[in-house]
Structures are given as structure tokens and as C-alpha cells.
Amino acid sequence: MALSPPLPEQLPSSGGRQMPLYSIIGMAILLAVAAVLATTVGSVPISPLTTFSIIADKLPLVDIAPSWSSAIGTIIMEIRLPRVILAGLVGAALATAGATYQGLFRNPLADPYLIGVAQGASLGAVIGFLLPISWHVTSFGIIPLLAFSGALASTAVVYLIARVGKTLPVTTLILAGVALGALLGSIVSYLIISSGDKLHSIIFWLMGSFSLSQWSEVTIVFPYVAVGTAVILIFARMLNVMQLDEEQAQQLGINVERLKIVLLAAATLITAASVSFVGTIGFVGIIIPHAVRLVWGADHRFLLPLSVLTGAIFMILADLVARTILAPAEIPIGVITAICGAPFFLYLLRRRKKAIF
């Protein structure tokens, strides 16, 4: 007689939901550790305890008698900390945007740059580099502004091309994004080879760098990333339902077209705000969500917050490697994200045989 599977004693708590909850707390602690570590390590040796004290001293209600020189305080507070925080913000933003696009498009190959954000930002930035005059409308020059405008403009064009009446077919959106991206990419390539002595700085920007990070950039990027990520997290449950096809999602009460627009807008904004300041850093946006999926599963209520944390940790550590391994020279962060991340991801992929997407 065939054995029938035993009936579960009671209703499942839905796939061991406790485990990812503890993981979120664990990853948050790991993020704090990574941040302190990255702030501590650098050309001037500063002990972790001093670093911690300097940062804690700035917090409200905490007052620690300084045992450090003001120069050390400046290195931590004005040079290293803004850089670490910006890296964390950008890593979180790209990973969250990647997870959102992958979920929304139900496509494992989707990344934050799929619908033209990166190419638009690159074109804007390259134009900024090639302008004969340098405008200083803001403390960090015109390049971030042009990159941000370029990213939003190209996404808007892709959106308008793909829109059919009141609907936004996902496949058309992806194809329009790929085609416009190729067009803009070739313009960027042409501008790069004819850029003469600015070639090096353009290439360096395209591969990404946090070397010019300041507090002013953190204060601009932070609100975009915070609001955009919060919006995406609110819709995590609906993003799960969207993993069914769009017709079923609608029959289960989701306003599919509105959800697509809200999530696309949020993911695009946080991506555009990030790449405008630090360049089009690759790999993080596609790989971090998959790595999170491999370890913790595909439920967006855990996938999204864990992508925020993992993306931030990964980017902070990648930037740490980028600025220390060949110090005083810096390696573009985009190179490090791929060199360090790809083998680890391939290991995860090999280890797990189950379907992940």
C-alpha cells in the first residue's frame, strides 16, 4: 500500500516565517558592524573603539569626553563616515530596485538599469564632463544634476513608448528599455572616444566611485532612498500576488496598472538618485536580490528588507576593498562588486539546486 503523506497537525505558519525575521535583525547588526569597520580602516589607523566613540558622541543624548585629536575626529566625521553612509544608501537602493524590477517583471534577468536609467544617467554625466565650462550651481557641480535628469528623461521616454492606452505591457517596457538603452549607450561610447583628455575621468565615473562623497550628497540621496524604499516595502505583499500572472493578480483585487506605475516610479527614483552621484555601479542590483532569494526564499516581505540590508553591507565592504587594497590608489567600485560578488554568487547558485525564481 502506498504511503500517503502525513497530514500536518495544524495549519502551517506559512513556511517558517520566523527564520527570516531573525535574519533581518541579524543582518541589521551586521550592517552596523560593517559600517564601523569600514569607518575604522583607512590610511590613518584609528581604533574601532575610538571610531565608535566619535560616532556615538554625535548622537543625541550621548556625550563622550574626547580622547582623540580633532584631526582624527575630522577624518572620521567628514571623510570616512559620509562615504560609508553613501555607499550603504546606494547599495541598499540598487539592491531594492533590482528586487522590485525582478518581481514586477517576473524576470530573473531584470536589474535596476533595465529600462534606461543607467544609459540616461551616463549620457547626462558624459555631457556634463564634456561641457567646456564647469558650472557650480551646487556644491558638487553639474554632473549629478545632468545624470539625474538624463536618467529620469530616458525612463520617461521608455514609459511613453511602451504605454498602450491605459496599460503598460511589461514585455514592451523591457524591449523599449533595452532598445533605447542601446541607442543611448552608443551615443555615450562615441562621446567617450572623442572626449580626449577627459576620457579617464569619464570611464572612472561610469564604473562608479565613492571617492568624492560628502555629507551634502548623503543629505540629497537619503530622502529619495528612504521614501522610495518605504513605498516599495509597503507594497511587498502585493508584489507577492503579482508573481501570479497579471490577470490573476487583478482577479485577486490588485489594481495592476496602478501598482506597476507606483513601483516603477519608486524604483526608478531611488536608482536615479544613487547613480547620479556615484556612477553606474553594476552587478549589485541584479545579484544581491538573487543571493537573498537563494538564502531566504522569494517572499517579498522578507526579500525586500533583506535586500536593503544585504545591498548596504555588500556595497560598504566593496568600497572598503576598493579604497584599501591598492592604497593610496583607488579601484573603481564597479570592478570590485563584480570580482568579489560573482564568485560568491556562483557558489550560492551551485549549492542550491531548488528553483529560486
Binding site: L11, P12, Q243, Q251, L252, A355
Partner: protein, 268 residues
């Protein structure tokens, strides 16, 4: 309790007209079967009634209210759909898929609570799918998935249920079990049920009323005995001499004989 009504509905895709000037009504406690040949528009009617596609002309009314004026979430609390062989994400467990039926009952900032889980669990009990709860969707058979979709629509707790070929992937035991369950829910909870069915015999056994669709129009509408008649079946399906009477309950049954091939379809 909800009354579903289609008035002067024309439906189609791009430039192809599928249905023309359709009138249809389904009342609470009534199980209506949509029958007709392949491509006659049964699925199209179901998609229109769940407002996934919009009619070119005419009105769809739910208790007299135009469906296009009802918000998506409110509509999903009134009308639930069991789609035909849909794509399901392989990474979710059976229980998670069923629990998604609670979506229209949850607000933006709400998560499923113990009560929602209990409703989903009961629905899985009714469809004998509790043993599958922790299995992943890609490990399940077509028939098991079909039962899960029915569990999901029960979890949705709607006043009307639309089913597109709910028995297509089921063995005969499961076919009877599922249709009996739907019928029972329909009468006990006064649900309005509209099911597109391929199998004329199952349709005749379980439905109070049948609507026969042919060439984009409603060809016949009435009790099984009024709709499944020799002339209707010959005209719509081109099958001769196949309508008989069930020896036990007197309902019409369709029995095919390989000698009675369709003269019309073969073009003779």
C-alpha cells in the same frame, strides 16, 4: 448574494469579434454552466465578468451596479475566479498560493493574521489539499493545482464564483468531488456560480441551467434537458444521435459512437 447580468455585450480581441450582443443572467443559488465548442467564447465571458477585459459595447451589472464603476479590490470581494491552467510562481508553497485569496480583504498596511490563515486552512480542508500545504507549486500535478485554485477562491470568500474549466485536469473521482463541492457551496451559501465546462455530461448533472454558445451568440439557454437536445448538439457540435437519457436521474447524457462522425465538420 449577488445577481450577475450581461446586457447587449459585445466582446473581442483587437479586430476579432468573439461575442456579439450577449444577454446573460445568473442568480444567487444558481449554478450556471457555459457550454459550447472550442473558441466559442466561454473563457472570454469569464474574463469579462471579472473585468480583466472590457466589453466593446453593452453593460455588465453586479446587483444592478456597472462593473466598470466598482474598484478592483471591492470587485475581488464580490467575484472570485478559478482560471484555467494559470502560471503559478514555482517558489511559493501551496499554502502561500491559497492564502493569496485573502488579498482583497487586506488593507495596504495589513498582513494576513491567524484568522486569515484559518480561513485558508479550512478551504484546503474542503478541497482535500491540506496534505499539500508545504509543498512547492512546481512539485504538484495539474489536478492538485486545480484543487488549490478552488481552495484559493473559497479563501477569497466571494459572493460569486466564476470557473473556467474547473475539471479539465481532474480524474473522474476528483471531477465529481469538486463539482459536488461547488454545487453544495452554491446552494448552502446562496453563491452565484458560473462555470465554463467542456464536459457536457458533467454540465448536465451539476448545473441548474446551461447556456450554449455558438458562433459568438447564445444558441440556447435553459435547463439541461432544454439545452442538451439532439437538434442543438447536432447543430452546434455536428455530432449525430448521441443524446440519451441518464438511466437513474433522467437528465440528458451525451454518448459518442465512433460510427457517428461529424458529417458537418468533415464537410460531407
Amino acid at each position: 448574494m449577488i445577481k450577475i447580468e450581461m446586457r447587449h455585450i459585445s466582446l473581442g480581441y483587437d479586430d476579432k469579434e468573439v461575442l456579439e450582443d450577449v444577454h446573460l443572467q445568473a442568480m444567487p443559488g444558481e449554478m450556471v454552466g457555459l457550454i459550447g465548442p472550442n473558441g466559442s467564447g466561454k473563457s472570454t465571458i469569464i474574463r469579462a465578468l471579472s473585468h480583466v477585459i472590457h466589453p466593446r459595447s453593452g453593460q455588465i451589472l453586479l446587483d444592478g451596479e456597472d462593473i466598470s464603476r466598482i474598484r478592483k479590490r471591492d470587485l475581488a470581494r464580490l467575484v472570485g475566479v478559478v482560471p484555467q491552467m494559470p502560471l503559478l510562481p514555482s517558489t511559493f508553497t501551496a499554502f502561500e498560493i491559497v492564502l493569496m485569496g485573502r488579498n482583497p480583504h487586506l488593507g495596504l498596511f495589513q498582513q494576513e493574521g491567524p484568522a486569515d490563515r484559518e480561513i485558508a486552512w479550512q478551504a484546503m480542508g474542503k478541497t482535500s489539499t491540506q496534505a499539500l500545504a508545504n509543498r512547492r507549486i512546481n512539485e504538484l500535478s495539474g489536478g492538485e493545482i486545480q484543487c488549490l485554485l478552488i481552495a484559493r477562491v473559497l479563501t477569497q470568500q466571494t459572493k460569486a464564483i466564476l470557473l473556467d474549466e474547473p475539471t479539465a485536469n481532474l480524474d473522474i473521482g476528483r471531477q465529481v468531488e469538486i463539482l459536488y463541492l461547488i454545487k453544495q457551496l452554491c446552494t448552502e451559501n446562496n453563491l452565484t456560480v458560473l462555470a465554463a465546462l467542456h464536459d457536457l455530461n458533467l454540465a448536465a448533472q451539476y448545473c441548474n441551467r446551461l447556456v450554449l454558445i455558438n458562433n459568438g451568440r447564445i444558441y440556447a439557454d435553459g435547463t439541461p434537458a432544454e439545452v442538451i437536445t439532439e437538434p442543438n448538439i447536432r447543430e452546434v457540435y455536428g455530432a449525430e444521435n448521441c443524446v440519451h437519457t441518464h438511466p437513474v436521474n433522467g437528465l440528458p447524457i451525451v454518448l459518442l459512437d465512433s460510427n457517428h462522425r461529424s458529417a458537418r465538420r468533415a464537410g460531407v
